[in-house]
Symmetry: C2
Amino acid sequence: MKLSTKGRYAVTAMMDLAIHDHQGPVTLADISQCQGISLSYLEQLFAKLRKEGLVEGVRGPGGGYRLGRPSSQISIAEIINAVDENIDVTRCLGSKDCHGGEKCLTHQLWEDLSGRLYEFLDNLTLASFINRPEIREVARRQDTIASRIATMFPPRPTIGVAVNASC
Amino acid sequence: MKLSTKGRYAVTAMMDLAIHDHQGPVTLADISQCQGISLSYLEQLFAKLRKEGLVEGVRGPGGGYRLGRPSSQISIAEIINAVDENIDVTRCLGSKDCHGGEKCLTHQLWEDLSGRLYEFLDNLTLASFINRPEIREVARRQDTIASRIATMFPPRPTIGVAVNASC
DNA sequence: AAGATACTGAGTAATTCAGTCGGGAATTAA
DNA sequence: TTAATTCCCGACTGAATTACTCAGTATCTT
């Protein structure tokens, strides 16, 4: 279990997908612009997320990424594990001994802690975050803004700099 | 909130101190040998732990490090924060805006998650780990082995390679 | 057919990790 | 007083990781 900026990028991006799940797929270009992460870097992260089945890509115009499963069935732990993929190998993993034969005490304690942490993050789903009322309110408001803008400039895909109201 | 190998080193080392708290200070050389971490690297980590008051150093022969507070008053979150010191700056920290004026939604969600994680780790103290009965049993057994060896070679500080039974 | 989008892989500067080295400063034991 | 032991401090270094760039291919919609 490792947790770094990379993991944060992945989690916030997944939250983005979850929020806009009912609308179409979300493009990486949107997320990139929204969160200030490079597009290619996002592509690398999403390659890993896709490999784990957490997202699915839709190609072509109007495409983007969608959640691979309902947000209630995607845990934070899964997302972090997908991109950080560091199984945190202690020097004396499993039955291997550090020194004296039996697995050393502190490593047992660490495994204990690590397990508790994983359990904690595995019980937090994407849905448990985005379903809170104040969040739904903001998302709703942004949707209406977005749709209002969409009404003002109807079918044309991009007019200069895209106004992205979903951030 | 960041969590890496570095944090693990710090936590396991602190657990080591906690376990042997009733005996004298623990030397970094011991921990280094026990856990297979370089001595100088440990020194750097402990410099940070000391700055936060989590440990106190005792110089001279028979010296080493002691917990700065009772193990019941040291949380895992504190330890990790002391060495990882990454306050996890999102691009739109505080009142700054990512794009549209108000703090973006996903960053609010991340802060929420980050807060929950911190709270979780802040409620886990060193004591809550080492006070579990099976741990106390192992520690006790190691203590008796250590004291038995100490009885066999009484006052002399080091005889060749130190036999470290506390791993 | 054209354009938008996901995909893939090679390469790269900057940062962090983990370690080495060389030297102090304080304390205890001889 | 001397020597050994330990903490303490700072500069440097190779290796790994981060985050990014570029350049291209595959697939889909219009």
